[in-house]
Symmetry: C2
Subunit: 216 residues, 2 copies
Amino acid sequence: MPEDSKLAVTEALRAAILAGEYVPNQRLVEVDLCERFGTSRFILRTALQDLAAQGLVEFQHNRGARVREVSLAEAIEITEVRILLEGMLAARAAERVTKSDIAMLRGLVREMRAAMAKSELLTYSDLNARLHAAIRDIAAHETASRLLRQLRDQTVRHQFSLALVPGRPAVSLPQHEAIVAAITGREPAEAQRAMHTHLQSVIEAFRALTVATMPR
Amino acid sequence: MPEDSKLAVTEALRAAILAGEYVPNQRLVEVDLCERFGTSRFILRTALQDLAAQGLVEFQHNRGARVREVSLAEAIEITEVRILLEGMLAARAAERVTKSDIAMLRGLVREMRAAMAKSELLTYSDLNARLHAAIRDIAAHETASRLLRQLRDQTVRHQFSLALVPGRPAVSLPQHEAIVAAITGREPAEAQRAMHTHLQSVIEAFRALTVATMPR
DNA sequence: CCACTCACTAATGTCAACAATTTCGTCGTC
DNA sequence: GACGACGAAATTGTTGACATTAGTGAGTGG
């Protein structure tokens, strides 16, 4: 498989980092990764460089690659940008949404309600990601989608710790319902506003985490 | 200088592409570039990969690297994102602007007026870039600035052809004046609105270019 | 005269070995 | 016992060579 092995390795490594198998600041020793993914140092190095360009890992000269640590402050900055991009995408989605899209969005919301009722936090978190992805796809804005993926990858760790906050779904579910209602109702301005409200509450949750975890 | 030669080569190559020394779809033959920049294929390859990650060049398997062609449609998408990011930065700049910032901004506007009066299009275009950079610096939003740099690099060619449109400065100068007035007046909402108006007019200029150049 | 094949060239993708640097453990000294 | 110099192991950065593949042009057959 020397065909597109580089891409495969890149994606596998990205998945491993996003899954938390390598934690921030952990050194990524090339030979170990080569063994794990069954590839050569050359291929692995290109993969590392790609991920470095996307801000997932960082290089230190003569000290190799580490998983990049994204501070909470930076996560807030990133979410501020997400507010803008996802707000626009929500508005566009409201303009372009089709009948089948509407059915899919409502299905997702239904599943989210069920997951919350059963307190399945991980399921809820996954559905959350799928809902945002669905809105991206409907909006069909290549540039914004590409940037959002980068930003989301960088904050996935914080996103995760947020998902485990006990009362979190109870706060975010009605917000998601409002977003979907506006999109399915084809109200762009309202969809954008609802998305702003939602992500603004994510920022506030981050801020709460900051004060909650700092005093330790 | 094997120290940070990779970064130096990357920047040199980036500058060359942005300067138009290599045109879209032109093949970037590694050996030639090595000779030009006095470096090895290995270093040059990492530089190419970096620029590929930033969307300036693209790789085709077994066919090496080419300067990536950014269509006018994509340039419009990119500008749509710039509207959001630069709008936020303008608002933030209005909140954080200092006395010395104000003097600098007004100085830039003064120079732009002079350049327009003398019809020095290239000077005006350069001042335009410096004004936007100044606003970025004042806003101090690392994430947004990083993304904007990528986006701007990708559209520099279109930006350039726009700068050469005869009546263009006459349209954009008052818009720039309005932006600076709002920032120096510490009016965030107004600064954001003025920036939106400005970049929206850039999009419309792009659209005009589309119909102007297509029928040939 | 055209189309097709085939070798030849040029350029890229990959590798394995080498050099340089950091890291870590050991030893000696104070 | 602690601290610092020294040296070996581990790890990364780089090089040059090799394999593979697209591009090209001559030559041949129809």
